[in-house]
């Protein structure tokens, strides 16, 4: 538990994070009381899109749940919630990861990036987003945030992939509309945009 946590600081943190004040662990945290022996600290701070967010996280909570239901970042989609489809792909320390299969507690010291964090402050789309618009890569769009994050991760690791490398790099993301060709066109265009 953060020894510097005060009731005022805690409440400000919760308001900033948009988290609901409901759990007993938060009560312990807010009142400076020791949590029960053997329990897991629930009020943690995680780095999401460059901002430190205070959030109440259950021990078994997935990153997808935290992002969607605690932090209101609903751009991260749940298609299967069991590591099959990639709709929930986010970057954890630059690596594309299925947020449905990552425990939030396991990434609290890492940088998490979601689709909401890509657009620049002046409103410019990220090159991958811009390229996906120009190529009309999405169809229904439900898998798109995951495809975007997978492409961003791929291009950070390999800024100039061949189409084959892009295909391999994106292969963890399913698109039921079958827009793979259009997404690959987008990835290749994004690599050109830089």
């Amino acid at each position: 538990m953060n020894p510097k946590l005060t009731r005022r600081r805690f409440i400000k943190g919760v308001i900033a994070s948009g988290a609901a004040v409901t759990s007993t662990s938060i009560w312990y945290a807010a009142n400076g009381a020791e949590r029960p022996a053997g329990s897991v600290e629930r009020l943690i701070r995680i780095n999401v899109n460059g901002q430190m967010r205070s959030v109440d996280v259950a021990p078994q909570e997935t990153l997808a749940s935290t992002l969607r239901y605690k932090l209101g970042l609903t751009g991260t989609k749940l298609g299967c919630n069991r590591g099959e489809c990639g709709a929930c792909t986010v970057l954890v320390d630059d690596t594309p990861s299925y947020a449905c299969s990552v425990l939030t507690h396991s990434v609290k010291s890492m940088r998490i990036e979601t689709v909401e964090g890509l657009q620049s402050a002046n409103g410019d789309l990220h090159p991958v987003q811009q390229a996906f618009v120009e190529e009309l890569s999405p169809q229904c769009g439900y898998c798109t945030p995951g495809q975007v994050m997978a492409a961003v991760g791929l291009l950070r690791a390999n800024p100039n992939p061949t189409r084959e490398e892009a295909q391999q790099g994106m292969a963890g993301n399913i698109c039921r509309c079958g827009s793979y060709d259009s997404y690959l066109n987008g990835v290749m265009r994004a690599a050109q945009i830089g």
Partner: protein
């Protein structure tokens, strides 16, 4: 014809929301005080709920209530096999029996575990033929089939009849449904090559990426339902009926839908959306019902499996003289679809057979909920037909491309049970374009060439679907600001049709696209009725309504200009910003001025009088709520004539490894013949997406059920494997014939479904080609089937059943 918008790419209004994650699907919404529903579903494939004891669950802190079938259907459940909101008579594993609402999902799950459900097991069946056999189980309580307007019925064959069919012979039992045209006997008598076989195609789930989650609340007597559908306004009336609320008190909110593919077109196929609405009404709180992937598998729909017998006769020159088709359709646990009939209509349209007979019996099984799935029927049968066409070509010494041209649909041709003419048809042109783009003449000599264990195969496939409707309505408004608001109820499932069809209105009014707003996303934005967005109809149907509404508005603009500036309406033209005299373009009014003048005049100009008499109920409601707000164009579309077809042609080259049974698609082009192209990028997406679906049908996807307990074994993306990046070619070439159809004002017809059938056909033909012309007479053709064939054990190996007799 030179168009301003038609045939041009544009940025659909929702695409930025899709790449930024800002666009909201039903589960992305929340509401103050919202509680969460979880479903208790059937653990057995067929049963009857005897008792539900929820006392302990309801006594828990944080539990607000339950909803059962008795709440939803106080007068008893409807006597039909269709999907119900909740049921006490489940006919498949996973069918929702009750919903429980709690402060959070964990509490709801804990409470659900405290519910004591007593359910009587009933006999179940997974294969229609098992049900047809004397003594075989029936999928439904009242029988194994449902006869329209008559109810449940039981159909049985003799043991000999079933055994004979299983042995590969023509079924001898009388079929439930049949039609025919031409002289079948004479056709076969005149044939120089006849192919006769049994066949089977697998059913498989839709697997939309977005599970069908829904959230509902009630406010001031109105029900607000955040749901998912592929047909926004077409859903509303039926969904209001299922919820039990008058249409005027029902608001359906659906900005985006994460895939539909046929199973979210009509309210009857997504009645689960009524659960949070009914539960919210009962407990007086907003209710979110998140649907899991497993639940989506169960209630999310599936393609019908077909098994049957087909006999095709060809004359020496390659023309198809006769076709005889008998299907046994797997209707699954909740009724079914019309796949077999569509399959028959499809082969009639594509191959122009001179004589044809179609027979079908639809039989229930305790498997997934069957219904329309992208190209239902046509796309399965094309995968069976394409290798047969190649076999006929080989036997008769006709080129594989030429035999298709010989039998291709052209202008003036007819098809189907009623010999209905096409509105237009250019299949020979599509075949030629596809062959040219693919390089058929240069490449075809490589067929069956080997390189070590690998062998090349080529396939030509054709797809068809009836692709257009009419009789719908259009509403547009010219606002006092001069902007054009196009109200469009098509639904947003990824085709961008809601936007591309709206451009027909902008086209008529020469309106720059940046001055147009597409009004959609929720029914309280006052939308016109549209046809459900299925059957590849949207581009045809709704360009007609948008175009018609714009013509109505243009006429009113001219009347107002003539009234105020002199002359006759015919003396005026528009330029996208002003209406002016043709003779002197300095005499005119801006669009804003004419809209303001229209509002002063009121009456018919603002939707308050002289409305088209035939307007649908929903459109009438929308117009009444918009009346007086702007200068309005209101239109009811009359019926069109004849059958607007969507056609597609695919050519592909594969390399099949005889050691592993796997193949790689080396090249593929998919060409559209769908009238005038409205939105090139959208069309290319349909051709590419259809191709991926075609690969799934021909090579991968199938339902699997545990035969002992009837449990689904393929409820995930990897168990009922859908194609991934690595199953699809690195590039899919696209193209289009782009010749206008006379029954559409901009010349357009649909394409979404044929773009899949062409590929399922081409790929099956290519596999057959690589294997020296071997016909599997099945879809999918999976790796194990190929290996078993090569090892000559296919007749013995049935480890990966498709839930039908052929394994």
């Amino acid at each position: 014809m030179a168009y301003m918008h038609i045939g041009k790419d544009f940025v659909p209004p929702d695409v930025v929301g899709k790449v930024t994650g800002r666009i909201k699907y039903s589960e992305d919404y929340s509401r103050e005080g919202m509680v969460y529903a979880r479903l208790l579903t059937s653990p057995v494939p067929h049963g009857r709920v005897v008792n539900i004891d929820a006392a302990e669950a309801l006594a828990m802190d944080g539990v607000f209530g339950i909803l059962t079938a008795d709440d939803v259907y106080p007068d008893g459940e409807p006597q039909s096999p269709g999907l119900k909101v909740l049921t006490n008579e489940p006919t498949l594993v996973g069918e929702p029996i009750l919903a429980i609402a709690a402060i959070d999902e964990k509490t709801a799950e804990t409470a659900m575990a405290k519910i004591s459900l007593t359910i009587e097991r009933l006999p179940f069946v997974l294969d229609p033929l098992d049900s047809l056999e004397a003594g075989g189980a029936d999928a439904y309580t009242g029988g194994n089939t449902f006869v329209f307007r008559e109810g449940f019925a039981q159909e049985k064959w003799t043991t000999d009849q079933v055994a004979s069919f299983r042995s590969g012979n023509e079924p001898t039992a009388e079929a439930q449904q049949s039609w025919a045209y031409g002289d079948l006997e004479a056709g076969f008598a005149s044939s120089d090559f006849i192919h006769e076989t049994v066949f089977s195609t697998a059913g498989y789930p839709h697997m939309s990426m977005e599970p069908r989650s829904a959230m509902a609340y009630w406010e001031n007597g109105k029900c607000y339902l955040h749901g998912t559908s592929q047909s926004l306004s077409a859903i509303a009336e039926e969904m209001a009926g299922i919820v039990g609320v008058p249409l005027e008190d029902f608001v359906f909110i659906n900005e985006a839908t994460g895939g539909g593919f046929g199973q979210r077109a009509r309210a009857g196929s997504i009645p689960s959306m009524a659960i949070p609405a009914k539960l919210s009404q009962k407990i007086n709180r907003p209710v979110m019902m998140r649907v899991t992937r497993e639940e989506e598998f169960t209630i999310g729909g599936a393609r019908q499996g077909l098994q049957g017998w087909i006999k095709v006769g060809f004359r020496a020159n390659g023309t198809m003289a006769a076709m005889d088709l008998y299907c046994i359709s797997d209707n699954g646990g909740k009724g079914g679809g019309g796949d077999a009939n569509s399959a028959a209509a499809g082969v009639s349209a594509l191959y122009q057979t001179e004589a044809m007979r179609f027979r079908n019996s639809s039989i229930g099984t305790n498997t997934g909920h069957r219904g329309a799935q992208r190209g239902p029927g046509e796309n399965q049968i094309m995968a069976i037909m394409a290798p047969i066409m190649d076999k006929a070509a080989e036997q008769l010494g006709v080129d594989r491309l030429e035999i298709r041209k010989l039998n291709a649909a052209q202008n003036g041709d007819v098809s189907g049970q009623r010999s209905e003419p096409f509105t237009s048809a250019y299949m020979p042109e599509a075949l030629e374009l596809a062959a040219k783009q693919f390089g058929w003449e240069e490449k075809k000599g490589r067929a069956r060439q080997t390189n070590g264990s690998k062998v090349r195969g080529f396939g030509i496939g054709q797809g068809y679907h009836n692709a257009g409707r009419s009789g719908m309505d259009g509403i547009i408004r010219l606002m006092p600001s001069g902007r054009l608001q196009i109200h469009n109820g098509v639904g947003n499932l990824g085709t961008y049709s809601y936007a591309s069809t709206s451009r027909a209105a902008a086209e008529v009014l020469k309106m720059p696209w940046e001055n147009c707003d597409v009004i959609t996303g929720r029914t309280d934005r006052h939308l016109p009725i549209t046809s459900p967005q299925d059957g590849s109809n949207s581009i045809f149907t709704n360009t007609r309504t948008c175009y018609g509404a714009a013509q109505d508005l243009l006429g009113k603009m001219k009347e107002i200009a003539a009234m105020d500036l002199g002359g006759n309406p015919a003396d005026y033209d528009i330029d996208g910003a002003r209406i002016h005299q043709i003779a002197d373009n300095t005499v005119g009014m801006s669009y804003a001025e004419v809209a303001q003048r229209g509002m002063e005049l009121g009456g018919k100009y603002t939707g308050e009088a002289e409305l088209p008499e035939e307007l649908n109920t929903l459109t009438q409601l929308s117009v009444s709520r918009l009346a007086g707000s702007a200068l309005m164009g209101i239109y009811h579309d009359p019926r069109h004539n004849n059958n607007p077809p969507g056609f597609a042609v695919c050519l592909t080259e594969i390399e099949l490894d005889k050691e592993t049974g796997k193949f790689q698609i080396l090249d593929m082009v998919n060409i559209a013949e769908c009238g005038t192209v409205v939105h090139p990028q959208g069309l290319a997406n349909q051709l590419r997406g259809g191709a991926v679906w075609g690969i799934g049908l021909s090579a991968l996807e199938r339902h699997l059920y545990d035969p002992q307990n009837g449990l689904p074994a393929s409820s995930g993306f990897w168990q009922s494997k859908i194609p991934t990046y690595l199953d699809t070619p690195l590039n899919i070439g696209t193209g289009w014939v782009d010749l206008p159809d006379p029954e559409n004002p901009v010349g357009a017809r649909g394409i979404g479904e044929p773009s899949m059938g062409s590929v399922s056909a081409a790929l099956n033909a290519a596999i057959s080609d690589a294997l020296g012309g071997h016909l599997f007479d099945a879809a999918p053709v999976t790796t194990d089937m190929i290996i078993n064939h090569l090892a000559d054990v296919s007749s013995k190996a049935v480890p990966l059943a498709q839930n039908n007799f052929r394994g």
